[in-house]
Homo-oligomer: 202 residues x 4
């Protein structure tokens, strides 16, 4: 009967709180893994009381799903945008690794959550992750590899298989960090390795 403070403000506030919770959750999951993570800690770390998180996510599992979804599309958007600024397939490969490494470096926790989920034991999460990363696999296959093959700068290959290998390689290398958090390998080196593998040798 009585309206309260503007519907839009309310929505906006909810979104922000939700985002804060997701970010706190990513830190916690990155540090302790899904099973080791403490939901109450997440809520408190985000600046709320224990129970608040349940006003936003019905369960720990759904919270994780939300993170996977959000991360997948953020990851894709970040990389796709930069790749599409290049035309040359070779530059796109370089750009792919540079953008990819940058993404992980900017938010290492997110990267950690993604790989540990990918190689972890919770099949529901893995399956969701594959769904969510489908666009990225396609991006590599269709907007990097296929054009390069057509143009003759890449050797003949199955773009789908190769896309899987490149993604595997990317995820493995970008998230391999030493104890200080620095990645062991530079995007340049990794890109060179991959380019050597796929370039046609004229």
């Amino acid at each position: 009967m009585t309206p309260r403070y503007s519907e839009t403000n309310r929505r906006q506030a909810r979104k922000e709180v939700r985002q804060r919770l997701i970010e706190a959750a990513i830190q916690e999951f990155a540090q302790n893994g899904y099973d080791g993570a403490n939901v109450n800690t997440i809520s408190v770390a985000a600046g709320f009381a224990k129970g608040t998180i349940y006003n936003y996510f019905p369960s720990k599992k759904e919270l994780m799903f939300a993170i996977l979804g959000e991360s997948g599309s953020a990851h894709f958007d970040f990389i796709a945008e930069q790749i599409r600024e290049e035309d040359d397939p070779i530059l796109r490969v370089k750009c792919f690794f540079e953008a990819g490494f940058a993404f992980v470096e900017e938010d290492p926790a997110r990267g950690q959550v993604l790989v540990s989920t990918l190689y972890g034991t919770h099949s529901e999460f893995k399956e969701r992750l594959y769904q969510v990363y489908q666009p990225m696999f396609q991006l590599v296959a269709e907007e990097i590899l296929a054009p390069g093959i057509v143009q003759g700068v890449f050797r003949q290959m199955d773009p789908a298989d190769t896309s899987v290998m490149i993604m595997t390689f990317y995820l493995g290398t970008a998230s391999s960090v030493d104890t200080s958090g620095k990645p062991w390998l530079s995007p340049g080196k990794v890109a060179d390795f991959v380019l050597n593998a796929i370039r046609s040798n004229q």
Copy 2:
């Protein structure tokens, strides 16, 4: 005084029990991850009562350490033995992936435990794993890459870095299985990709 024989028998029996426990533990860890694994379940699956496992391992953590040590050397021995039967660096690369994939296929649980630990969040385990895998990195660098570079069949490169990339690639691809447990990629395809990346182009 106990006669010598019974002493030896006892030692032998202990070893066998220990091994059975380790194998049961690998299954459990593979299925549920370290945090999700249940120590009692492991003991029972090995054919003992709940408490027995604590006569062999002082804690869940030490049990995990034991598995990592055992798996690392088993993995290394299995691969090293086969590689050393070849002389040609290129064949050694192919052999490396074939042996590696075979190892994982023969004992997928062990493979799962290794990758999930490698990309997991328990830094103590990760560190131990790096230690344990040191010989494997060296094997690739010194017994595959270095000779190939010297012989001119591989391009100039830093064997250490490249070894890391190859291992990353191997672990990622060998343990990427679809829901039926079949790996997505064949060792041949992966080996070819890597060979293209490292061969010198005369």
Copy 3:
């Protein structure tokens, strides 16, 4: 100064909202019991937001008290009105069970709340219920049994004790329903049983 009309309207509106809340609460309590009931759900089921109910009842407990009071007098009024239309004590007994069963059948949720409270564990509620049902016990004792004894159609007995037995019997039988919600026993059968028990045998 507020004009008189709007004041009355406001009172009226409050009453209606209160009633809607009570009815929603009866459904919820009937379905889930007092402990299992969810206050927010009640408010929402009544068509309001979660918090609204607290503008009408200071606590879950007070809400329950309100229900008990309201139900008790509704129950009494419903039955008393019909009984008093009969003069003959025997007909009054029959009428009592018919009216009683009808009341429960018309609003089974209310019936359920009453019995589950009566036989439940919350002594505060039980005590309130006894208070509230005092008039009903008196009705049976003084307006059904006592006249019948005086007229000689009922045997000599303690009207108070017998009233307790009859009420117990009524509540137990009227609220025993099978899974489809149909009562197991008809008011006729139950009334006959009771009449046999109290009739004088000339």
Copy 4:
């Protein structure tokens, strides 16, 4: 490999602990109802630590089921044994109420749990209770009412319906206690009421 302390002792000990837990649980459920009961409190009241109860019952719900089963058969055995010592149907009715009231008086908590379950809102428990009380309904119908009808001391009636009424009456009256815990009605009065209702009037 090594046996431990005699299997039979073990079994015996487990049984005793289980029984202690059940008894503590009955007290707790009687006092607070199923929803209000605290599982940890039960375990502690039985003289164990919080977790112990879960070594005996997989969940609160299963604990409740165990209580219902145990109580149903204890109740039946207690009453059946005494009834069968009488031959006369009329004495059996008296005996039924005396034994029934005695059962409840000896262990009022058990009685409270039974009625509050019977009139409560947990349909799973109610259904189990009906199952468990089936033998008691039969006892009344077949070993009290039917013989009396045949012998002509009870009037013609449907033994099944009447059995339901008698049980309803019994449960309602036996468990109606005032605040001091004394029942409002004596078994004698209740039995007389019932006998009047069912006796044939020669």
